[in-house]
Symmetry: C2
Subunit: 206 residues, 2 copies
DNA sequence: GACGTCAGGATACGATCGTATCCTGACGTC
DNA sequence: GACGTCAGGATACGATCGTATCCTGACGTC
């Protein structure tokens, strides 16, 4: 046997470099060569790891989904719904990059059924994690038990995704951005059926 | 004076061709040559119309915003809130193309402040139109007058945008897609504060 | 320690890219 | 009707693209 290496680990590292590059310069700046430069390896090495450029980008999408899922999984146990939903918002550089990548992948997934399937599964995972949080709140009496947790979770995820996409195009500390965050907060409370007269904790699980 | 033509009309036509091409094959398939082929003119003619490829794509973004704004403007007078919010959903081929283009432009706008500004203005326009609809409902007594129309409109727009992005990656007539549409409906009613016991018309303005 | 094997890199290929430049022909003025 | 002007097209350029292919050297077995 000749030199043995962990191909999968290398693939993951290259996918990570791709995400760094794409978040900085856009997915349109991704090429086999530019990714190789970003990772400090030769274009030939990148070629050996992925059968095609398309497969390389798909692997980066998978990595993004993995990261998102693990972030939600590690948060679900000890944080409230607010913190949960904020995972989808571009409030710091890391989450901003993730939002940009998901949007870029969404655009490319049009006409690529397998990419769309991956994205749909990612949404489903986040919705399920959110629904689980809501069901716990229902058991604890913090949320009306008559509400459909799955439907409500879908609404909450869509809400934060919609605000996330819009926040991307506003300066982070602008008045308009703060106004949107306030509107998101009010919308979440309205969706949950919390009246303005409610007492803290205003959102379940916090 | 030599041959005189309406440059602006030609630019608009080429931008329209670009949108057709990009909705079909993705924004990454757009090149000066491919757009020229799509429009049935020579690449040289495209070059004469736009100083650069970047400007050409920016013009296509502007055209998309124009189309969206006029769609919302023509609808606001005689349709209900449901029909209004459905403008953002990929429920037919035309709206599906528009959603894809907005998402593709959103991805490219990262790091391009002027593009982001155009997108932010587009969101603002749609939110304002929605808020106007809500204020009318408040005057008509169909909606609680205490609610902040602007915040509520921001929430409704984000909600439909979030569901729109997710619907893109599901087969139009799948069970999951129908489930999402049902969840959207329930979320809109919850946001508006309409209880399940409410009598029709369930949403204002319809 | 000779040798096979494959990782990593170098090189090469045709295709396509954005754009600069030149050509040409139709329209306008006078 | 001669002529200037610019729209539209053709051509050309260097750069970069994805990928196929070849080279080389380190590691493994025996």
């Amino acid at each position: 046997m000749p030199k043995v290496v962990d191909r999968e680990a290398r693939r993951r590292a290259v996918a990570g470099g791709l995400l760094r590059l794409a978040a900085r310069d856009g997915l349109e700046a991704v090429s086999v060569r530019s990714v190789a430069v970003e990772c400090g390896i030769s274009p030939g090495a990148v070629q050996k790891l992925f059968p095609s450029k398309e497969d390389m980008i798909l692997r980066a999408l998978e990595l993004t989904e993995e990261r998102l899922a693990s972030r939600y999984a590690s948060l679900a146990d000890d944080a409230g719904l607010d913190a949960h939903l904020r995972q989808a918002l571009p409030l710091d550089e890391q989450r901003r990059e993730e939002v940009i990548m998901i949007i870029a992948f969404s655009a490319r997934a049009a006409g690529r059924p397998d990419w769309g399937k991956l994205l749909a599964e990612g949404y489903r995972t986040i919705q399920d994690a959110t629904a689980e949080l809501l069901r716990r709140a229902q058991r604890d009496g913090l949320l009306d038990a008559d509400r459909d947790a799955a439907d409500l979770a879908a609404g909450l995820v869509a809400l934060s995704d919609g605000f996330a996409a819009r926040l991307l195009h506003l300066p982070p500390d602008s008045a308009e951005a703060h106004g949107l965050l306030r509107a998101l907060d009010a919308s979440v409370r309205a969706l949950l059926g919390i009246t303005s007269a409610g007492t803290p904790p205003a959102t379940p699980g916090g």
